[in-house]
C-alpha cells in the first residue's frame, strides 16, 4: 500500500499556510452549523486522515451535478480533487479511458474495500435488462451494484440519483430508478437539486471527511443542514408575500420592484433547499432573486407537480384533501393548501391595512 498523506500534510505541501488551514476548518464548521467548540475536532480530523478514495459513477443524467461541483467557491474544486479526496474514477475528469479506467475502479474497490466513497450522479434504467445505460459493455445497474458492494457510504448527487428527476417523469420510458431503491444495504445521503448547490455538494463531502460519518438526515435522506428549511422561509421577497404584493406577469411593475412570485407559480413554499440562504455561484443570486419562480427542483417528482407557472393553489385550494390523489402526496398538498390560505390571508390583511405578521405558513412535511 502506498504512503497516505493526510489532508493537512497535503495542504502544507501545497504551500497553504497553517493559518489558512485553520480558517478553512472554522468556515466549514460554521457552514455545518457546528459549535465553535468543535472546531479543534475538525482540525484534528483534517490533519490525521489520508485522502479518502472516491469513485464517481454516472448513470442516466446530464452531468449538471459535476458542473455544479466544479463551481464551488469554498473550497474550490482543485483543492477538493487534489487535496481533500482522491477522485480516482470519474467519467468527467479522469485522464484514463476504457479498460485502464475500469482497472482503476476495480483496484480501488480491492485496495480500499469498505473504505471508499461511492458518489453517484444520475440514476438506473431498470427496464429491458438495463440496455438504456451501458458502461464498458455492461449495464449501469450491474456496475452500480458491483461498486456499491464494498463502499463505505454512497452519496446520491442531485435529483436524478436521489429521487429520479427528469427521465423518471411520467411515463418514465426507461424505468429510471433512484439509487436508494436499488441499493438498500448501505448508508446513502441524498443531495437533491437540479443540480444541487455547489457549496452544498462540497459541504456534504467535507462533513464526511471531517467527522467520518454521514451528516444527520431527514426522512427523505437529505442532510438537515442544507435541506432543513423551505426556500420560502428565508426568501428575500418574503416580506412582499406577507404584504400581499405579488408579481402578476413577468416584467410588470411588481416584477421590476422585486415583488413576490407566488402567483407566477413559485414552488418556494413547498421546496426544502438552501437557495435563499447560501444562494448560487458564490452568492450572486438565486432563481427567485433573478425574477423567475422556483420550480422546486430539489423536491421528489417536481417535474410532474407542474405546470411550473401554475400557482400552488391549483393543487388544492378548498382545505379538503379532494385533490390530494392528483398530486399523490398529501403532505405537499396540505402544505400547498395552507400556503394558499396564507397568501389569501396576506392579501386580505393588506386590504385592511393590517400590518401585523400573518400566522406561520403551512405545516411541515
Amino acid at each position: 500500500m502506498k504512503k497516505e498523506a493526510s489532508f493537512a500534510e497535503i495542504l502544507e505541501a501545497r504551500g497553504v499556510e497553517r493559518r489558512e488551514f485553520l480558517k478553512f476548518c472554522s468556515l466549514m464548521s460554521v457552514y455545518l452549523g457546528l459549535s465553535p467548540m468543535l472546531v479543534p475536532k475538525v482540525v484534528h480530523a483534517m490533519e490525521s486522515k489520508p485522502r479518502i478514495p472516491v469513485i464517481w459513477l454516472h448513470g442516466l443524467e446530464c452531468t449538471c451535478c459535476s458542473e455544479s461541483f466544479i463551481r464551488s467557491s469554498h473550497p474550490i474544486v482543485a483543492d477538493i480533487v487534489l487535496n481533500m479526496i482522491s477522485l480516482d474514477y470519474d467519467d468527467t475528469l479522469s485522464a484514463a479511458a476504457g479498460h485502464q479506467l475500469e482497472a482503476v475502479r476495480k483496484q480501488i474497490m480491492q485496495d480500499y474495500k469498505g473504505k471508499y466513497i461511492l458518489a453517484v450522479e444520475g440514476n438506473v434504467p431498470t427496464k429491458d435488462n438495463g440496455v438504456y445505460c451501458m458502461v464498458g459493455g455492461d449495464s449501469f445497474e450491474n456496475v452500480l451494484k458491483e461498486t456499491a458492494k464494498d463502499a463505505l457510504a454512497i452519496i446520491s448527487w442531485g435529483s436524478c440519483a436521489s429521487f429520479g428527476c427528469v427521465q423518471n417523469a411520467k411515463p418514465n420510458p426507461t424505468g429510471a430508478t433512484p439509487i436508494h431503491k436499488i441499493i438498500k444495504d448501505k448508508p446513502i445521503v441524498n443531495v437533491p437539486g437540479c443540480p444541487p448547490i455547489a457549496e452544498v455538494m462540497t459541504g456534504v463531502i467535507t462533513h464526511l471527511l471531517t467527522f467520518g460519518k454521514l451528516p444527520e438526515l431527514d426522512r427523505l435522506g437529505r442532510p438537515k443542514a442544507f435541506y432543513g428549511t423551505r426556500i420560502h422561509d428565508k426568501c428575500e421577497r418574503r416580506s412582499y408575500f406577507d404584504a400581499g404584493m405579488f408579481v402578476e406577469t413577468f416584467d410588470d411593475d411588481g416584477a421590476r420592484q422585486g415583488w413576490c412570485l407566488y402567483k407566477m407559480g413559485c414552488k418556494g413554499p413547498t421546496t426544502y433547499n438552501s437557495c435563499s440562504s447560501i444562494k448560487w455561484n458564490e452568492g450572486i443570486s438565486f432563481p427567485i432573486g433573478s425574477g423567475h419562480p422556483c420550480i422546486g427542483c430539489s423536491e421528489p417528482n417536481f417535474w410532474d407537480n407542474g405546470p411550473f407557472y401554475s400557482r400552488l393553489a391549483n393543487i388544492g385550494f378548498t382545505g379538503s384533501d379532494s385533490n390530494a390523489d392528483k398530486i399523490g402526496q398529501i403532505a405537499v398538498g396540505a402544505a400547498a393548501v395552507s400556503m394558499a390560505a396564507h397568501a389569501i390571508g396576506s392579501a386580505v390583511k393588506k386590504s385592511r391595512e393590517n400590518k401585523s405578521t400573518p400566522a406561520p405558513a403551512g405545516k411541515e412535511e
Partner: protein, 573 residues
C-alpha cells in the same frame, strides 16, 4: 492481422460513448464505430405537457452545455405561437449564449481535452526557470515567475509521491505520442488549475439573469429578470458592473492564457494532422442582431460546405424544409412505422426504441446491424460535421473579417496552410478562435444592453401570448441555436395547448451518429479512419480525435413520439 479495439467508457465527455475500431497490421485504424450507449426518452416525457415548461425539461438534456436547449426551446415555442421577444430579451439571451460558449470552450480545452496533448507526469522534470522564460515569451499573463512554477512543480511532486493520483490515475503518461517538452507540460498543468478556478467566474453572468448555473431559468416570451436601475431587486448598475468585470476578466484570460497556450501546444503537434474526416460542414448560424428569422443578421453566419471546398458556401440551409434535414435509423436501436429504411424530417419524425444489440454484459457490438442509441441525421442526404470548425469554416469562407483575421493569425503563427484546418488539431484550434470571437460578442451585447437602458428601454418580456386561451389550436414551430458543440434544432407540434410532439436533433447526433442506410459514416467514424496508433493498448489517438469534437452523448441520444401527424402550419423561411 486485423484486430479490433474497444474504448468504453470514453472519459472527459458528457454521457456514455463507446468506440470500437478495427486496426490493420500496421496499427492504423481502418474502420471505426461510434456508439451512444444511453437513452432517456425526453421527448416521450414532453408529450402532453405545457409548451411553456418545455425549456426546463429540454435544458436537462445537458448540464455541460447547459442553457442551449433552453434557448432553442423558448425560440421553438415562440416560433410556433408567433411571439416576438423584446430587444432586451434578444440581447440578454445572446449574452448568455456567448457566456456559455466561452466558458464551455475554456473548460473543454483545459479539462476535457488537454490531457490528450499534455503529459502531467512529464511536468515533474521541468526546469521552472525555463518554464517561466517560455511562459513570458508567449504571454504577458502575470502568473509566470520562476518561483510560481517552482512552487507548482513542488506541489505536483508531493501529489504524485502520495501515491494517490486521483483523476490522473492510470493515464497514458510517458506515451510517445506526447510531444511537449516538460516545461510546456508544466505551464499547461498550471493553466489547467487556473482555468478550473476561473471558469466558475464566467457563469456568474447566467446567475445574474437566470438565477443559477448550471441550468439558469428562461421564459417563453422573453426573460424573467426585469430591468430597473432604481431597484436593488432587478438588473441595475451594480449587476451591470459585475457583468462588465467578468467580461473583462474573461477576455483577458482567453487572450493571455487560452490562445497563447493553444498556439504553443499546437506548434508541437502540427505534424499530427490526422482526424480530418468528412469534409462536409453545417452551421445554422446564430447571434441575431435583429431576430431569429433573419439569418442575414447573424454574427455567426448560416451555411454549408461540402467536400472541403471553401470556395462555395451553400446559403440555402433551411431546417424547416422537409427535404433538407432527415433522420435515418438503419444502424440505430429504433424502429419506424412504415419501414426502418425511411428518412424522416423532424416534423414528421417518429421514434420507437427497439434494442437489438447484445444483452449486457457483452464484449463487442454487432456493428453490421444496429449499434447505437443515436439516430443518423443527414442534410440533403449528406453526412455533415457540426461545431466550432464548421462555424469557423463557414464564416472564413464567407469572408467574415474578424474570423478571417483570427484564423490567418493562428495559421501564420503555426506556419500552416488553410488545409491544416481539416484535422483534429484544426478542430481544436477553431474552438479557440471561436472562443475569442465569442468573448468579444459578450462586450458587444453588454454595450447594446447598456445603450438600451440608457435610452429608457427596460422591456424584457412580451406578455401578449402568455395566456394559453390566445393560442392557436394546432401549430408547429422550429427553434435553434449554435451550441458549443454545433448546430442544435428543436421542432415542436402544439395541439390543443399541449405538446403533441417534440423533436430534437443535436450536434453530437450529427457528429457521433452510426452509419446510414448506404453504409456512410458520420463525423467521428470518418475522422478516426486512417489514424495510426502508437500502442493500441493505450488509445491516446482515439481520445484525441473524439475529444476534438467535444462529445455530448446525453444530448445525442434522444427520442421523439410515436405519432406522425399531419401539419396545419408549416413556415418556410
Amino acid at each position: 492481422m486485423a484486430r479490433r479495439i474497444v474504448v468504453d467508457p470514453i472519459p472527459r465527455i458528457e454521457g456514455h460513448l463507446r468506440i470500437e475500431a478495427k486496426l490493420n497490421d500496421q496499427n492504423v485504424i481502418s474502420d471505426a464505430y461510434s456508439s451512444g450507449t444511453m437513452w432517456r426518452g425526453l421527448e416521450i416525457i414532453l408529450k402532453g405537457r405545457d409548451p411553456r415548461d418545455a425549456w426546463a425539461f429540454t435544458q436537462r438534456i445537458c448540464g455541460v452545455c447547459t442553457t442551449v436547449h433552453a434557448l432553442a426551446s423558448v425560440r421553438c415555442v415562440e416560433d410556433a405561437l408567433g411571439i416576438p421577444v423584446p430587444e432586451n430579451a434578444r440581447i440578454i439571451r445572446n449574452l448568455m449564449n456567448a457566456t456559455q460558449q466561452t466558458q464551455d470552450h475554456l473548460v473543454h480545452f483545459y479539462h476535457l481535452h488537454a490531457l490528450d496533448w499534455v503529459d502531467v507526469v512529464s511536468a515533474l522534470s521541468a526546469d521552472p526557470n525555463e518554464a517561466s522564460r517560455i511562459a513570458q515569451s508567449i504571454s504577458p499573463w502575470p502568473k509566470s515567475s520562476p518561483g510560481y512554477f517552482k512552487e507548482l512543480k513542488g506541489r505536483l511532486q508531493k501529489f504524485v509521491e502520495s501515491g494517490q493520483l486521483g483523476i490522473f490515475s492510470n493515464g497514458y503518461w510517458g506515451h510517445s505520442g506526447y510531444l511537449l517538452p516538460p516545461e510546456v507540460n508544466l505551464i499547461a498543468v498550471a493553466h489547467y488549475l487556473e482555468a478550473l478556478e476561473f471558469q466558475k467566474e464566467i457563469v456568474k453572468i447566467h446567475t445574474v439573469f437566470g438565477g443559477k448555473n448550471p441550468h439558469p431559468n428562461y421564459v417563453v416570451g422573453g426573460m424573467a429578470s426585469a430591468i430597473n436601475p432604481e431597484s436593488d431587486r432587478a438588473i441595475n448598475i451594480e449587476k451591470l458592473n459585475l457583468i462588465k468585470d467578468i467580461i473583462d476578466q474573461t477576455n483577458t484570460f482567453i487572450d493571455q492564457v487560452y490562445i497563447p497556450d493553444l498556439i504553443a501546444i499546437a506548434g508541437y503537434y502540427k505534424g499530427w494532422l490526422h482526424g480530418g474526416g468528412l469534409g462536409n460542414y453545417l452551421s445554422y448560424g446564430d447571434f441575431p442582431e435583429t431576430n431569429v428569422n433573419d439569418p442575414a443578421s447573424f454574427l455567426w453566419p448560416r451555411g454549408a460546405i461540402l467536400n472541403k471546398d471553401l470556395s462555395t458556401v451553400y446559403d440555402d440551409v433551411n431546417p424547416r424544409d422537409p427535404n433538407q434535414i432527415k433522420e435515418e435509423i438503419a444502424h440505430s436501436w429504433y424502429t419506424y412505422e412504415g419501414g426502418d429504411d425511411k428518412a424522416l424530417h423532424p416534423w414528421e419524425g417518429q421514434t420507437t426504441p427497439k434494442y437489438t444489440g447484445p444483452q449486457p454484459p457483452f464484449e463487442n457490438l454487432d456493428t453490421d446491424k444496429q449499434y447505437s442509441w443515436l439516430k443518423t441525421p443527414r442534410w440533403k442526404d449528406n453526412p455533415m460535421e457540426v461545431g466550432p470548425l464548421a462555424r469557423v469554416l463557414v464564416a472564413y469562407a464567407k469572408g467574415v473579417p474578424e474570423i478571417k483575421g483570427l484564423v490567418d493569425y493562428v495559421l501564420g503563427h503555426l506556419n500552416a496552410p488553410a488545409a491544416a484546418l481539416f484535422s483534429t488539431l484544426g478542430r481544436t484550434a477553431a474552438r479557440g478562435v471561436e472562443c475569442k470571437q465569442t468573448a468579444g460578442f459578450m462586450r458587444h451585447y453588454y454595450d447594446q444592453l447598456v445603450a438600451n437602458i440608457k435610452a429608457g428601454k427596460y422591456d424584457t418580456f412580451n406578455a401578449d401570448m402568455w395566456n394559453p386561451d390566445r393560442w392557436p389550436n394546432d401549430v408547429k414551430g422550429f427553434g435553434f441555436t449554435e451550441a458549443p458543440r454545433g448546430a442544435l434544432g428543436h421542432w415542436i407540434h402544439i395541439k390543443n395547448k399541449k405538446i403533441e410532439d417534440y423533436q430534437i436533433v443535436v450536434p453530437s447526433t450529427w457528429n457521433a451518429s452510426p452509419r446510414d442506410g448506404q453504409g456512410r459514416s458520420g463525423a467521428y467514424e470518418s475522422a478516426l479512419k486512417g489514424t495510426p496508433m502508437v500502442n493500441p493498448e493505450q488509445p491516446l489517438e482515439v481520445l484525441r480525435t473524439v475529444h476534438s469534437f467535444d462529445p455530448c452523448l446525453a444530448c445525442a441520444s434522444h427520442i421523439t413520439d410515436m405519432n406522425g401527424d399531419e401539419i396545419t402550419t408549416v413556415k418556410i423561411v
